[in-house]
């Protein structure tokens, strides 16, 4: 029995999902749904079809992995796909998750299927670590550090500034802040500026006022004003040559005491050369889990908090117990 996967949306994440699905022993990507002309889509071999033709795939797809962006795509794509398939997505606008969950839950229940939302690493594996940490070490400090890695949201914010023709932003954790949590020295959450710095590499248009661009960046509320931000102007060639990767990662730390008063620390870290490829791997494993849950009769919206983690692994339960416990 092979789990037949659809991939909806074919950017970096969709490609990462296709790679992971092709490597999985028990899954097969059978179609990529796209808003572009399907004939022009260059996949790794998976046939492309128009998003408007989803219904025709109803009986040939077990789970649809939705790889659109959180800003606008997913809130439309996922309820549409739920009419025909169970869905997995990596919706990551933290503040809007409750609202998004509710709308997916409604669409899934209406169709008698299920939606596993907001998987990936944050939200996702990092969320699981936070949850575990709170469950076993209630009296403790929790901190999340991101990076070093590319923040798409911050890079997009740079590119919207007048006179900027290209840009990338790296979020960089401050090692001393991380060490303060790890060692137990920190006892309350650090402020934003103390935890991360922001490094911007910017290509300015010919003749643009660089000082004005720099000023707009470092004073931009929400994105940069609360951080120590460095702005480095580079050429278009340097941007192309040195900044095309999408590394990311980070750490969730929890440090405090057991109920009996003994010091205890928990740390989960990721170090990723390609954020979309790793996120794609998580999305794909979640496709396996959702297939199994739906086969067992589960309906409605779910998050990773609702998923027995054994269902993410291709192995049989008795193998997992014998080899991994």
């Amino acid at each position: 029995m092979t789990i037949r996967l659809a991939i909806c949306g074919y950017g970096n994440l969709g490609r990462g999902v296709e790679q992971a699905a092709l490597a999985a022993p028990d899954m097969e990507p059978v179609v990529v749904f796209t808003r572009r002309d399907p004939d022009t889509l260059e996949t790794l071999g998976t046939p492309a079809a128009s998003v408007d033709d989803m219904e025709q795939w109803k009986d040939r797809v077990d789970v649809c992995l939705c790889c659109g962006g959180s800003a606008t795509d997913l809130a439309e794509q996922v309820p549409a796909a739920l009419r025909y398939f169970p869905t997995v997505d990596s919706f990551d606008t933290h503040a809007k998750i409750p609202e998004y969950f509710a709308s997916c839950d409604e669409a899934a229940r209406e169709a008698g299927t299920a939606a596993l939302i907001s998987v990936g690493w944050d939200p996702g594996l990092f969320s699981l670590t936070r949850l575990l940490g709170q469950a076993v070490l209630p009296d403790s400090l929790e901190e999340t550090f991101w990076g070093k890695g590319v923040s798409q949201g911050h890079s997009d914010a740079l590119r919207r500034i007048e006179g900027v023709v290209g840009a990338v932003q790296y979020t960089v954790p401050r090692p001393e802040a991380l060490e303060a949590v790890r060692s137990g020295q920190a006892t309350e959450p650090a402020e934003a500026r103390a935890k991360h710095t922001r490094e911007c590499y910017v290509v300015a248009a010919d003749g643009a006022d660089r000082e004005r661009i720099r000023e707009e960046i470092v004073s931009m509320p929400n994105y940069f004003a609360d951080y120590d931000t460095t702005v480095t102007f580079i050429s278009a060639e340097e941007l192309e040559r040195d900044h095309q990767g999408m590394p990311h990662g980070g750490s969730v730390l929890r440090r405090g005491h057991t109920a009996g008063g003994s010091a205890a620390g928990i740390e989960f870290s990721l170090d990723l050369e390609s954020n979309p490829q790793f996120t794609g791997a998580v999305v794909t494993a979640c496709g396996r889990a959702l297939y199994r849950l739906v086969s067992g009769g589960v309906t409605g919206a779910l998050t990773l908090f609702d998923v027995p983690l054994g269902s993410l692994h291709p192995g049989a339960p008795e193998e997992l117990r014998a080899q991994l416990l």
Copy 2:
């Protein structure tokens, strides 16, 4: 609604469970079952009863947390307790888990209840990390490092040697081996000797032949022969003063590549001043989870691989989604 907990066995782990349960907002330890004379048991306030009187507590206990040892206690205690209650245990003899699972599964199904076995940190949280790692990064090297911490099994082995009146053994990971995995330099599993050293602190009986004791230790098969082992003779006073803690911890690392060929690393680490207090906290959170699963109709034996992690946390699902995702 408060979850009423029984604690079966009151050694270091049982005490750790009582501490965690007393601190939990939604649980209450209502009885400690003991093989000792209940009147002599000094708990933190929880009433004690004889293990032979379990049946009388059938309607006053929701979950029984079994805190006996894996060597002999649990295989007896857990099936006995399952006649009256759902059970959680920290059975940690890795090689015997399949057999233990089968016997608990049978006892639980017979009684129409459920047994969550082998929880803690290894097996337990470390197992979950290994599972997640394999599910999302199939093509990778996995290594587990333990310590620095006290190994009860190895300390017991020391104390069985003639002429030894007291002893403690610390398992110590080699930082360079850990760094080799973390950096991606290591590409296959290291041999035992390269990963850990073993430090023994031994109190010899008056007049005992220390050289013979040292030789017996470092050549002991399974326990010490495959490691670089140091033996330090100390006084009974030093043992009492400097080695009464039960620290432990360690790291699960996974390093390799996504299906798309990008480097990726996952690391989960624990740093624990008190192994039994932390394990007790995990067992207690699992008591909460099992209560919820049994309330939902689950029966039979389970491991953490079968448990949606949200059920470990006291918060409501909508709170977890809003605050932790």
